[in-house]
């Protein structure tokens, strides 16, 4: 039947499924049960990394989606005169719009608003980038942890003489 002492193989009517059962059993005996951990080549991990590293130029809007913010998330000059009090709100908002030229003579609110808008945008970018970086690092840590577990297991097997 077999030329190989570790295996029972019928060379004339080979059944690979049965052969693979023996391969798996022998692999487990020789090295202990090695977990099928995701390596850096694992499609899932690659996909996650790729997903995280494909940075979009609309990142703040992704943040808006992530935080479930409806409408525009940043401030704008229109916010100064906006009102949500129904019909009265429309009236108030109209009065504010009409009074705006006069107010602008006394104080220019657009400049600090624009500055705050830019700050918010920068913060949103930074948060988004940090979130991505964190996700990528999480993937990497997970991979390394599994690798360490595997090596530790292998080390235990060697020290207790079960690997051969």
């Amino acid at each position: 039947m077999s030329d190989n002492h570790d295996y029972e193989i019928d060379y004339e009517h080979i059944d690979v499924a049965r052969l693979m059962e023996q391969v798996r059993a022998r692999a487990a005996t020789r090295t202990g049960n090695e977990p099928t951990f995701p390596t850096v080549d694992s499609p899932d991990l690659l996909q996650r990394l790729r997903q995280n590293l494909d940075l979009a130029d609309e990142q703040p809007y992704e943040l808006q989606r992530t935080l479930r913010l409806a409408g525009d998330w940043n401030i704008a000059p229109a916010d100064l005169r906006a009102s949500h009090d129904g019909p009265i709100g429309t009236l108030i908002s109209t009065v504010r719009r009409l009074a705006r030229p006069l107010v602008k003579v006394l104080v220019n609110l657009d400049a600090p608003l624009h500055k705050q808008f830019k700050i918010n945008l920068g913060m949103a970018h930074a948060i988004y980038e940090l979130t991505l970086e964190n996700a990528a690092l999480h993937c990497r840590v997970q991979e390394l942890s599994e690798r360490i577990d595997e090596l530790a297991e292998h080390g235990n097997d060697v020290s207790t003489g079960t690997s051969c």
């Binding site: 190989n4 193989i9 080979i14 022998r26 692999a27 020789r30 099928t36 080549d41 690659l46 494909d54």
Partner: protein
């Protein structure tokens, strides 16, 4: 002369007993070696022997950008008329990546899905207009690679006449709802493997569409000379052979990791580890190790010489819809060692009894040990693989499956037309 006017004036005359077929594919050319494109070219060459056939494709040669390379209009490749249409806009990888990230992993609407498809390309509206204009000129349109714009639009434009060769892999694209209609409305589907059929049926519920698992044949290997390969390359002793692009996406990083671990393990156990010989261009760093030999790109002759000399072919890829190099190994009666995480190649290996597979480094090492220590096993697996290749992937078998399907479609179409004609 515009491609449209060229097309209308140069169509070959119809012969009564021959079908008029159009092959639609994203790229086409003698020098294009991509899997689906080579597949399309080989099938075109076979079908052109019995039918009037034209190829409808783009001017692109690069699958990343789809930048126009070939001249537009009519040309001739291996005696087959090829109509090329310019890609209107090359792919913008950043925009495409952004849209793909959305449609693969987030919520999106129909408009975004269509924008993703347009961004994926090759976006070729002129080709679509030509196909719409010539819909009635051809009996069937055989469209390759389900995921590209060309096939997606062509299959909708020729509904009832579109025969799909999906070349699908289990990646997130297959789950997108915009493909379901294409899978369901295809006139017939020519699958590469049983696993591909199961995958597409699972996602689209297209069981009622006529189909057949057919795949593709390979060019008959030339006579081989293993001594010539060993002398030329200085490779002695047993070796595992990898053929193809050396790339992360092909599972090569894992192959290197597993191989180096197996090498150490076998040496510790006083088993001579086979070398790892790599044939193909490298897209990633290759570990510097005395047992790893990189040949670079090799000629077809040298590829077959190396295959015949190898202990086994190793196929580490996670995603394949059909591995032609696997068939080439079996054509030369060589066993294969494949990644069990790829359902298609593991399924083929199991059905053929032509090789072994691994799920982790321990199993990889055991497979390598087994083949290194037991040459008789390698011979036996290689013989089974060869028998499987002979039964399923020689050209007469492939030809017969295509002819049977086309005849069946014709008969169905005739039967469908009959009652209408009699009542009119």
């Amino acid at each position: 002369m515009s491609s449209r006017s060229t097309a209308t004036t140069c169509l070959p005359a119809r012969l009564a007993e021959r079908l008029r077929l159009a092959i639609v594919v994203q790229r086409y050319g003698a020098e294009i070696s991509g899997g689906a494109e080579l597949h399309a070219r080989l099938i075109a060459q076979r079908l052109a022997r019995k039918h009037d056939l034209v190829v409808v494709t783009t001017c692109a040669s690069d699958y990343v950008t789809w930048r126009n390379h070939y001249p537009r209009g009519l040309s001739n490749v291996d005696g087959i008329p090829v109509y090329r249409f310019p890609v209107r806009r090359p792919r913008d990888p950043q925009r495409f990546g952004r849209l793909q990230e959305r449609v693969f992993h987030r919520q999106y609407d129909e408009r975004t899905a269509r924008a993703w498809m347009d961004a994926q390309g090759p976006y070729t509206p002129r080709m679509l207009r030509w196909i719409e204009h010539h819909r009635d000129t051809f009996d069937y349109f055989i469209c390759f690679s389900y995921r590209y714009w060309t096939t997606w639009r062509a299959m909708q434009a020729v509904e009832g006449k579109g025969v799909l060769v999906p070349t699908a892999e289990p990646d997130p694209a297959i789950e997108l709802p915009l493909y379901r209609a294409v899978f369901r409305s295809a006139r017939a589907i020519m699958y590469n493997s049983h696993e591909e059929r199961a995958l597409i049926r699972r996602h689209s519920g297209n069981e009622s569409v006529p189909d057949v698992v057919v795949g593709v044949g390979i060019v008959e290997p030339p006579p081989v000379d293993t001594a010539r390969f060993r002398a030329t390359r200085g490779v002695d002793g047993p070796f595992l052979l990898y053929i193809g692009r050396i790339d992360h996406n092909k599972g090569c990083a894992q192959l290197f990791d597993f191989y180096l671990r197996a090498y150490e393990r076998l040496q510790e156990e006083s088993v001579r580890p086979p070398r790892l010989v790599l044939a193909g261009s490298s897209m990633m760093p290759i570990p510097k190790h005395p047992a790893i030999v990189h040949l670079g790109r090799v000629s077809e002759q040298e590829k077959y010489d190396a295959l015949a000399a190898s202990t086994a072919l190793v196929m580490p890829s996670f995603y394949e819809s059909l591995s032609m190099v696997l068939l080439e190994a079996w054509a030369l009666s060589r066993p294969v060692v494949v990644n069990a995480h790829c359902d298609v190649i593991r399924g083929q290996t199991q059905r053929s009894n032509g090789g072994v597979w691994y799920r982790n480094s321990a199993e990889f090492a055991e497979c390598v040990r087994l083949l290194a220590e037991d040459p008789r096993l390698g011979v036996s697996l290689g013989e089974r693989g060869h028998a499987y290749y002979q039964a399923n992937y020689t050209w007469p078998t492939i030809d017969d499956k295509y002819e049977t399907m086309l005849t069946r479609l014709q008969a169905d179409d005739s039967a469908r037309r009959g009652p209408r004609q009699s009542t009119s």
